[in-house]
């Protein structure tokens, strides 16, 4: 069982991580590099000063972008291990798992660890104002776990009580509120910051969709003979 979970998760996570790394390189890295010009003060946009919207940006950096690809695959394998473990647990209890249903599982995973945390703690461009890291990490874990439980209650719960509990779990982290800075100090223009947040969520959605799809596909294939 363990080896079937790990095999499916490795294959799914690795492919999804590569997709994410490619999408980051194409759509996210240019925004991030542009933002870093503001973070380091090479570009400034405060007051009446206009900032260059199309500066020359560094191109492909083997070391930096290679490490991004490595960490994307690591991260997505980590997520896939949890996702496929949950799929396997459900499959043991009669839930059908295949590629199409896996896609739904992947979307639920995206909502739990990217969309819900981003609702109150949007993906930050470099140079954004921030508060204590530990407090934000604790809030992040709490939100991801509460949202994941809510997703499970919506998918498998029976009766209005469980749906009610799911709504409470979905809302609670945002009613409690994420740690926010006392003052805004971001040096990056809002045009770039919003583009970064939207694209970060887009890359996350694509990689999670593929993690779920392939996780379901490989899990079904691994178990086809048994």
């Amino acid at each position: 069982m363990f080896s079937r979970i790990v095999t499916s998760a490795l294959l799914a996570g690795f492919c999804a991580g590569l997709l994410a790394a490619l999408l980051q390189l194409m759509f996210l890295q240019p925004v991030l590099l542009h933002a870093e010009l503001f973070e380091t003060g090479k570009l400034v946009h405060f007051g009446g000063q206009l900032a260059d919207a199309h500066p020359d940006l560094p191109g492909f950096d083997l070391m930096r972008d290679g490490l991004s690809a490595l960490f994307w695959t690591l991260l997505q394998v980590g997520y896939a291990l949890i996702l496929v473990a949950c799929m396997a647990f459900a499959a043991e209890r009669g839930v059908v798992i295949d590629a199409r249903r896996g896609l739904l599982w992947g979307l639920a995973g995206f909502i739990a660890v990217q969309f819900a945390p981003a609702f109150s703690l949007p993906p930050e461009v470099p140079g954004a104002a921030y508060v204590d890291l530990t407090a934000r990490q604790v809030w992040w874990w709490g939100t991801a776990i509460a949202t994941a439980v809510a997703m499970a209650l919506i998918a498998f719960g029976t009766g209005a009580g469980m749906w009610g509990a799911a709504v409470v779990l979905l809302l609670a982290p945002h009613l409690i509120g994420a740690p926010q800075p006392e003052a805004f100090a971001g040096s990056v223009p809002p045009e770039l910051a919003s583009m970064f947040a939207a694209r970060a969520l887009g890359v996350g959605l694509a990689s999670w969709a593929l993690t779920g799809l392939l996780g379901g596909y490989f899990w079904q294939r691994e178990n086809a003979g048994s």
Partner: protein, 58 residues
Amino acid sequence: MTAQVKTAAKSTARSTVMPFLAAMVLGLGIITIAGHVQASALHDAAHDVRHATGFPCH
């Protein structure tokens, strides 16, 4: 007899839950290292991905 059945049931339950738990703990460990641990070298290497995934980074 009843005790034996209970023990058997318990050990079956454990053997079916353990693989899921082991995979989840492994996954959580990887995510914690890749996304959250702040050791300087790790933070620098994972920097762009942490920003891209919306992890609290700095």
